[in-house]
């Protein structure tokens, strides 16, 4: 009995296939009395023939009534869906069930990892709020809270259609075939995809489709991650109505455009097939698409907003404005690190087929790079300033995770560890550069964590991709595996990555800057100085985050604002 139970799942399929071949062989043998007759199509009758399921020996109703504490009698041949109950189980039913099971596994995987990414919003919210002063806590939390709604709405209306409306089908999700309309132009004799046009309101163009819904959910939470990066850099001085307008624009246009070029079948994705540059721009989970787009928009906005009052003295020297709660900052970093296991492994959009079992490798790469990122930052701060700074160590963890996001599906663990370590040091150098040299105020370090390290992550694909990954045999329509310069792949992949980087700092920066400049002209981006000094909780939101606490008189006003 035990042997039967161990074998029954596999043996049932084998028996079914054997019986199918038997039926097929009989069907191909012409009847002796009619030698000239054309044999019937061998496969179709076999597929439709009832199968002998006795060998599968499903548990009897008597057995089932006793319960199944060991779980060996649940999920047997009795649970395979039968299309015609009179006929009984056929091979066609079995094959359809196998196909649906594969897609179901991929649906569940993609949805659950999408839910993890959605939870990252909570991590971002408390990291950013903790790094700001208590007097702005309600304002900062409410930006992070509502960016989810503003972004989702804009993405549903048009962002998703622009980004994925021409992706041309996602095989791991069973097709998503209605997403087949990409607007292109011809440049240098090659077709350049610019934006998709199917999927507005998730109904237009036949996109009321189960696979499209799964893809939408997963892409939507990624888009929202990019949007919430900006709120950190602009915190403590951003007018709420300007934030709402800017976020809707970014969710509707800026993010989807680059998303289309990289992931929606656009011109960056086809740099490989069009110009022989490796596999084209390869960004596995979005160091560029998500993080650099967010970081670069944050840079454009921070320049327009200007620094917080009291951040710089008249001679240009910076003042440190510490956050109010390091505990929630580090808790938020942990939440983000947890959510990243949805971000990177989930980007396979599959757990079954097409090389998707690489999810284990992707998860370990993610874990390692976050770890070495925090190592890099803590070592840098300890050696340079004599203390293991908590907020920069948290930023180091995030920098490592940001950097590994693009290469996570293409590199090995040694590559991941190196990429993360470099990111941890790079985030410290970048924060110092923007703070002291460029004098661009970024309260949470978002430009450095997401912008600088997003770019580093994109470039690192062209260096560290080891050529061992194989997602269904090709990536971006080019056969073989993505291979970087250090693993014998030549410079083509690196060039494709750099074209992507230049597009981020050239086109995405320009769109973000012009859009926010226009918003500044019509609405005004920055709050009034007196509101900024008082804290934005009352003037902007009408309520304090911590009404029972006594806030200290403004200490950030050392310098100019104290006058």
């Amino acid at each position: 009995m035990k042997l039967y139970r161990r074998m029954k799942a596999g043996s049932w399929i084998v028996l079914a296939l054997l019986s199918c071949f038997g039926l097929a062989a009989r069907a191909q043998t012409p009847a002796p009395s009619a030698p000239a007759a054309v044999a019937p199509a061998p496969v179709a009758p076999a597929m439709a023939q009832p199968l002998d399921t006795k060998a599968a020996a499903p548990p009897s109703s008597d057995d089932l009534v006793k319960g199944d504490p060991g779980g060996t009698m649940t999920g047997t041949v009795s649970d395979v869906v039968v299309s015609d109950s009179k006929k009984g189980l056929t091979l066609a039913d079995t094959v359809n069930q196998v196909g649906q099971n594969r897609i179901a596994i991929n649906f569940v995987w993609t949805l659950v990892t999408g839910f993890l990414v959605m939870f990252m919003q909570a991590g971002f919210a408390i990291v950013e709020t903790g790094l700001c002063r208590a007097k702005n806590a309600n304002h900062t939390m409410m930006m992070n809270f509502m960016v989810y709604g503003f972004g989702l709405f804009a993405y549903w209306v048009c962002g998703f259609a622009i980004q994925m409306g021409g992706v041309g089908g996602v095989s791991t999700l069973g097709g998503a075939a209605p997403l087949n309309a990409e607007t292109s132009i011809t440049v240098f004799g090659k077709s350049w995809g610019l934006f998709g046009t199917h999927g507005f309101f998730l109904t237009q163009g036949g996109t009321y489709d189960v696979a499209v819904m799964v893809l939408f959910l997963f892409q939507m939470v990624f888009m929202d991650t990019a949007l919430t990066i900006v709120t950190g850099a602009a915190a403590e001085r951003w007018k709420y109505v300007a934030f709402a307008t800017s976020s809707i624009f970014m969710g509707a246009l800026t993010y989807p455009l680059f998303g289309n070029w990289a992931w929606g079948g656009g011109w960056l994705a086809t740099l490989g097939s069009n110009y022989g540059l490796g596999h084209g721009y390869a960004d596995f989970a979005g160091s560029g698409v998500v993080h650099a787009v967010g970081g670069i928009t944050a840079l454009a906005l921070s320049m327009i907003l200007g620094p917080r009052l009291g951040k710089y003295n008249r001679d240009g020297s910076p003042n440190a404005i510490p956050g109010h709660d390091i505990m929630i900052v580090l808790t938020g970093c942990f939440i983000l690190a947890f959510g990243w296991f949805g971000f990177n492994p989930g980007s396979t959009l599959a757990a079954s087929g097409n090389g998707a079992l690489r999810i284990g490798s992707i998860a370990v790469n993610t874990m390692l790079a976050g770890c070495t990122g925090s190592f890099g930052a803590i070592l840098y701060m300890w050696m340079r300033y004599g203390k293991p700074d908590a907020s920069m160590t948290g930023n180091g963890l995030l920098a490592g995770l940001v950097a590994i996001t693009a290469p996570s599906g293409f590199v090995n663990t040694v590559g991941a560890a190196i990429i993360g370590l470099i990111a941890g040091v790079l985030v410290c150098l970048s924060v110092e550069f923007f703070d002291r040299v460029a004098r661009i105020d970024d309260p949470v370090g978002a430009i450095s964590v997401h912008g600088t390290n997003g770019i580093w992550g994109v470039i690192s694909v062209g260096l560290f991709a080891d050529g061992k990954s194989n997602y269904g045999g090709s990536w971006n329509g080019v056969n073989g595996s993505v291979q970087g310069l250090f693993y014998g792949g030549g410079g083509g992949q690196l060039v494709a990555q750099l074209i992507g980087v230049v597009t981020l700092v050239g086109i995405i920066f320009t769109i973000s800057y012009v859009a926010n400049f226009v918003i500044d002209f019509f609405i005004g981006q920055r709050v009034r100085p007196e509101d900024e000094l008082a804290g934005l909780d009352i003037p902007e939101m009408g309520a304090l985050c911590y009404p029972d606490f006594v806030l200290k008189p403004d200490q950030g006003a050392r310098g100019v604002a104290a006058d």
Binding site: L277, G306, L498, V501, V502, V505, G506, T510, G559
Partner: protein, 60 residues
């Protein structure tokens, strides 16, 4: 100056992209992409940011 900064940024992107059409050499495309990246950074940090710094709040 802000407009000049934006134009420099766009010029950087054009330099990198034009490399795709004018040469087949990976090395030349690599050089043009790096050059384009540097031009973009000069446009953002050297020109545009400098223009914003002119009227910075802390200089008042």
């Amino acid at each position: 100056m802000k407009l000049v900064g934006i134009l420099v940024v766009l010029a950087g992107w054009l330099v990198a992209v034009v490399g795709l059409g004018i040469t087949q050499s990976t090395g030349a495309r690599l050089l043009l992409a790096i050059l384009g990246f540097v031009i973009c950074l000069v446009g953002i940090l050297g020109v545009l940011n400098k223009a914003h710094m002119k009227n910075a709040v802390w200089k008042a």
